[in-house]
């Protein structure tokens, strides 16, 4: 029975871990999670692996573009920008 209660608490913490890592939980809920983590090594390991996953995502930069923008593509954008400025100037 004791292990069942323990497991339910683990599941509750498990469901809230991202909100906890994002600091998006009210202080009471944070305190509750921290008090559970303090006594539950598997949950600490799990929380740490989730935190590292988030850190890896934050450092993750997928492939770079192969080349800087081409002259033609840049020109297309510059024309759009200038047209927008001109339209705005004539409207005001």
């Amino acid at each position: 029975m004791a292990s069942h209660v323990h497991s339910e608490k683990c599941k509750e913490v498990f469901a809230l871990l991202s909100d906890y890592l994002n600091l998006e939980l009210p202080p009471e809920a944070c305190a509750e999670i921290e008090s559970h983590l303090a006594g539950c090594a598997p949950c600490i390991e799990f929380a740490e692996s989730l935190r590292k996953t988030v850190e890896l995502c934050r450092h993750f930069r997928p492939d770079e573009l192969r080349e800087p923008i081409g002259a033609q593509a840049r020109e297309q954008l510059m024309r759009a920008y200038q047209k927008m400025l001109a339209a705005r100037a004539s409207a005001s």
Binding site: S3, S18, D19, L50, P62
Partner: protein, 211 residues
Amino acid sequence: MDREAEVELARQLLTGRPEAFDVFVEHFRTKIFQYSWLMCGHREDGEEVAQETLLKVFESFDQLRDPERVRQWVFRIAKNACLMKRRKSVFAPAHELSLEQFLPARNETDGDMKMEIADWSRLPDDQVLESEMKKVLERGIGELPEIYRAVILLRDLEELSTQETAQILDVTEDTVKQRLHRARLALRQTLDEHLRADGHAVAPGATIRGG
């Protein structure tokens, strides 16, 4: 480039100072490409979306009322451009991920309770810069259902807030939080499986007496 610098560039462009143009283009072109490549699953689509998004951005720059919101505004346009590039193979029908499927298995042996997760302790936070982990992460993100992929890209890679992400994707903040958690859990599982296959045994701390 931090967000303040982006906002400053947007301000300059709005006041008709074109010297900010090239820096703005190169900065956002890379960001949009990385998002749209992972969203669309094809490099070529990513490059096209980057150009189409920037074109739309410059055509409608005067609609950006608040330069503080420039990153959010650009990504909203990029999201819509990605939707236009839908390819069935990548944008498969949405399926929901459940929390339970990511709950690590537990074994009880000799009074010890073991949670079956890899030993992450030796993995530095920036390990992903090494090519193998980078590939695993990229594959993991690519395998996420679209609705989860969009959220993790905006929240954890682009570091947009919950509120901004909700506005970009037209969903509630609670939905963003729920999808982000499931996306992270799925990605954690992919990484965990890779680490275990790579010889990172079950974490020593994941064993407790009498569990």
